[in-house]
């Protein structure tokens, strides 16, 4: 089933064309990576999907329904969202942060508590130890784990991830990438994953979409991306082969 379908998406911000005629679909269970340099439009594309950027033309359909027909708030609650620094609410405990969307949906307290506990375990945090902590009492990696747990809390069919691991130290980043891949195998969620790191793209993605100046340059299954002849893709891959 197609979760997300984007057709002819154009977006201008401040007179500049940030996205140019983008066509993209995300199928169920698929992690599509949006790869590109800074300013290539990948984050904007993510924000067009959940309506944080509202000024675009074209068509975006989520679960078969045009996003214009969706209730904006209900739709966003079905799209888990993770950003670089987690965006956790500093005045709420870890448990309250993770329980945010189920609470917005009016689920009963007992159900939320059980869900939060299960999710924290899922991302490798002991609920008894971490549930009562505040975000500033967490390391960068722990914050991102909580951010992912929060994004998964209402069991959304689609995850939007905007460079979720970019600010972490290399070891923690690798840990979280591995864990993400493992979780991805066991769930049937779709994800749109923004990164500028080709290694990460190859690791977590089932499909890679390379953006350049707001246009799709290459779209290929992750396994075939290495073989692409596209010049921009070669630039990214060169960074890999230059490594020790």
């Amino acid at each position: 089933m197609t979760i997300l379908q984007i057709r002819g998406l154009n977006c201008r911000i401040g007179g500049r064309e940030v996205l140019r005629h983008v066509d993209l679909t995300v199928e169920e269970g698929e992690t599509v990576v949006l790869l590109g340099r800074s300013g290539s439009g990948k984050t904007t594309l993510l924000k067009c999907v959940n309506g944080i950027v509202a000024d675009w033309a074209g068509e975006i359909r989520f679960q078969g329904k045009s996003v214009a027909e969706w209730d904006r708030f209900a739709m966003r609650r079905k799209m888990g969202y993770v950003i670089q620094d987690g965006g956790l609410f500093p005045h709420w405990t870890v448990a309250a942060n993770v329980g945010l969307v189920p609470r917005l949906e009016g689920r009963p307290d007992g159900e939320i508590a059980a869900r939060v506990e299960a999710l924290l375990r899922n991302v490798g945090l002991d609920p008894a130890e971490f549930g009562g902590r505040y975000p500033r009492q967490l390391s960068g990696g722990q914050k991102q784990r909580v951010g992912i747990a929060r994004a998964l809390a209402a069991d959304p069919p689609l995850l939007l991830l905007d460079e979720p691991f970019a600010a972490l130290d290399p070891i923690t980043r690798f840990d979280l990438q591995q864990q993400f891949v493992e979780m991805r195998r066991s769930w049937h969620k779709s994800a749109l994953f923004v990164t500028h790191d080709v290694r990460e793209a190859l690791l977590v993605g089932s499909r890679i979409v390379l953006l350049r100046d707001g246009k799709i340059e290459v779209e290929a299954p992750a396994a075939e991306f290495r073989a692409t002849k596209n010049a921009e893709a070669r630039e990214f891959l060169r960074a890999l082969s230059d490594e020790l």
């Binding site: 944080i52 209900a74 966003r76 609650r77 950003i83 965006g87 917005l104 500033r136």
Partner: protein, 205 residues
């Protein structure tokens, strides 16, 4: 004499409290409204800034001839004092609201919170320490400025100060000045302690 001082102190506190309630009732919603409107913000904050630079005695004079709020008495005094108290309340509330981390606001929006939920559950709680700072500054300065209100029949501890000046009697002046200073110090300490607690919560401590 001491009974008279107590009565004047009470009147003073009343004057300050009424002023603050009015200033907060106008200033807090105004700041919330302005936080989302950059163009208006400059003009309004500019106006309130200018209002602040008018010497308080002159301000009482300006307000005297105005209908409804003017005339000799408490009403004019409260109107002028509230105008002064607005600035710290509006400015600090704005600082608090605008200081909310962009990533926090963005993820609140992206998680499907409505603007109202974001305001009440995220922005206002995170701005609370700054709001309390504004209220503290407004309180302390109003306690001082309110002594001048006696010049236009506002009553309070300023009555002693003006009477003492007229009589060339330093004891009478002190009878107004010392309790006013004491009130200011107590208010500062109490609100400062509340503020400190709030900061602890906001930081998640």
């Amino acid at each position: 004499m001491s009974r008279e001082i107590a009565a004047a102190s009470l009147e003073h506190v009343e004057l300050v409290l009424v002023t603050l309630v009015i200033a907060a009732a106008i200033g807090l919603p105004a700041a919330v409204w302005l936080a989302r409107r950059a163009a208006w913000r400059r003009w309004v904050v500019g106006f309130v800034n200018v209002a602040q630079t008018v010497p308080s005695l002159a301000m009482f004079g300006f307000l005297l001839p105005l209908p409804l709020i003017g005339g000799i008495g408490k009403r004019t005094a409260v109107a002028a004092l509230a105008l002064y108290a607005l600035l710290p309340i509006v400015r600090n509330t704005l600082v608090g609201l605008l200081g909310v981390d962009a990533g926090v606001r963005e993820s609140a929006e992206a998680m499907g919170m409505t603007p109202r939920q974001i305001l009440w559950q995220v922005e206002l709680p995170l701005a609370t320490p700054a709001i309390v700072t504004g209220l503290r500054i407004a309180t302390v300065s109003t306690i001082g400025t309110a002594t001048i209100a006696a010049a236009i029949g506002g009553g309070g501890l300023g009555v002693f100060i003006f009477r003492g000046i007229a009589m060339y009697d330093k004891w009478t002046i002190l009878a107004g000045a010392v309790p006013a200073a004491a009130l200011a110090i107590v208010a500062d300490e109490v609100l400062g302690a509340i503020e400190k607690r709030m900061r602890g919560v906001g930081d998640g401590g």
